[in-house]
Symmetry: C2
Subunit: 258 residues, 2 copies
Amino acid sequence: MVRHLEYPKKPQNTVKRYNNRGTYDLGIIHSIINTTSVLHVSFAPSPDEPFPAILPMIGVMGSFEYPSSSIEEPLDCYLHGYVSSRIMRLARESPNGLPICVAATKVDGLVLSLTPNSHSYNYRSAVLQGFAKPVETDDEKLYAMQLITNKVVDGRWENTRVPPDNVEMTSTTILRVKVETGSGKIRQGGPHDEAKDENRSDITERVWTGVVPVYEAFDTPIPSDTNKVKDLPSYLDSYVSETNNHNRESALNAVKEP
Amino acid sequence: MVRHLEYPKKPQNTVKRYNNRGTYDLGIIHSIINTTSVLHVSFAPSPDEPFPAILPMIGVMGSFEYPSSSIEEPLDCYLHGYVSSRIMRLARESPNGLPICVAATKVDGLVLSLTPNSHSYNYRSAVLQGFAKPVETDDEKLYAMQLITNKVVDGRWENTRVPPDNVEMTSTTILRVKVETGSGKIRQGGPHDEAKDENRSDITERVWTGVVPVYEAFDTPIPSDTNKVKDLPSYLDSYVSETNNHNRESALNAVKEP
């Protein structure tokens, strides 16, 4: 029997608008986070500051306690990025961790209907809310650094100069987010028009409707001026072509009605 | 003489880490917002709620007061998306508008260096902070709806059934964000390694370094089952191919040192 763990529905994560598109499935939400290049992380900078802040960061789901956990199981979110001293200081100073929100959104298509009002995107989005604290032990930091590097290019960690030296270890900060709630939202399919427009031939004969599939594409890797490795390594070559195929397939599959 | 207006540097928008990558130029920041498919919008849901919320939304810069304003001039940010009643209610109830943060990030490349520590992305990111209020007049709403539709596909508005009818006008909500501060950050170029690794041939002979260009790609548009327009209209065909060329060029240009 396949288990499907779900995040508990609380007021702040319950999908209300188009709630048939909502999901609380851990596996689906974690996969969206793990395949999104840049996560957007929000926090409140200080009590006197009216505006929330958003930082673009790289992040990945993982469990240092139970490294064999699958994507469907409870996981923490590890974040690395242009961590301003502000978010790090706040996370260090909060005894229970800094309350943050992590968002990941992938656009799969432009959905073009007869009238602007019913235009849409095909998309997959995920949001996590939880408490962020800096990772303290070197073992856990190393675990997270490897996950994050291999999220960017699968197998990259093993194919670089590792382990990081002492200076690199102390200059790197990783946040571990203990997830409290999460939700996802997925839209797929073609345009849905209303009868009032579909029944008018003056409109349907003039307005093209359909989907423009959208995906994140990799171009041919360009070696640096100082690169000494003549051929593109096979792990990188495969990663580029497999990711391109996978992303394109996802965008094309999203055109089908769910 | 070319003017370059800049957002004022305040504590909350001053770029500290890698500050040579920071920009406050209105034109650059507005262009990043306008060419990003999905914006991430953050707000504080309520005083008792510890976590900020993030919504993925579609948005565009514009000025209803001075519609002839260019991208380099002071503009508002108009937002449309899966506007939960929560953000709309908060924006309506806040006499000065709801304090929000709007973020846009475009990944231009994976920057692969000798050691994980110096890996990076080429990217362009922009953040705006401001006060959001619902647009109240039909004239301004129509102005913003047209901008937003044509942001998704240039020329789409004129090629659909418009204007929206009364039901569509009242069911659509647009937020206008009066921008208080903004900043951008841009990273381009190849990997930068340290001498401690570059001088070791056991590393340089083994580790491929360079950039994998990344861009958002459109695939061939797929007509809906009910589409009656036989040929893909030229405005859409051009938009798809021009956007693909432009996005790919941007990713390739980003590989060059700034």
